[in-house]
Symmetry: C2
Subunit: 82 residues, 2 copies
């Protein structure tokens, strides 16, 4: 069954304390290859049937209204897989 | 600067209560296009410099050891962007 993947990340101008914690832990472990880590969410929406334009529009609407908080997050990607 | 994106999802055989809650809410709102929702994490690792094979190997190692809990989660993707 087709799946729509929605990626949501914290806005670039906001601190991401989880990501900061990870990058700090990496530093303490001696891994210095990464200068920043940001942590967001990935939603997999399984579509019942075909991915029509309406289904895609519905996915975009719920990505904006329900899956992300537009005050602190951006929807960075919506793509259909398989 | 190049970024390595790591996607982590709950294992398919496990319940995902957050996703179940979203799909239930969609049903109550009258949106019936989606039969399932699963919620995972998306990590953006900013690389200091070039993405060499070693950096990619380091990213894979921390994806398995630190960014995911292999008991309940799978690393479903590691890709370099821009």
């Amino acid at each position: 069954m087709p799946t729509i993947v929605v990626d949501v990340m914290p806005k670039a101008e906001l601190l991401d304390p989880q990501g900061k914690a990870v990058v700090g832990a990496l530093g303490r472990l001696g891994i210095e290859d990464f200068s920043a880590v940001r942590i967001g969410k990935r939603f997999e929406l399984t579509v019942d049937g075909e991915v029509t334009d309406e289904v895609l529009a519905a996915a975009k609407k719920i990505a904006d209204d329900m899956l992300s908080n537009s005050v602190i997050e951006d929807v960075v990607g919506i793509e259909v897989v398989e």
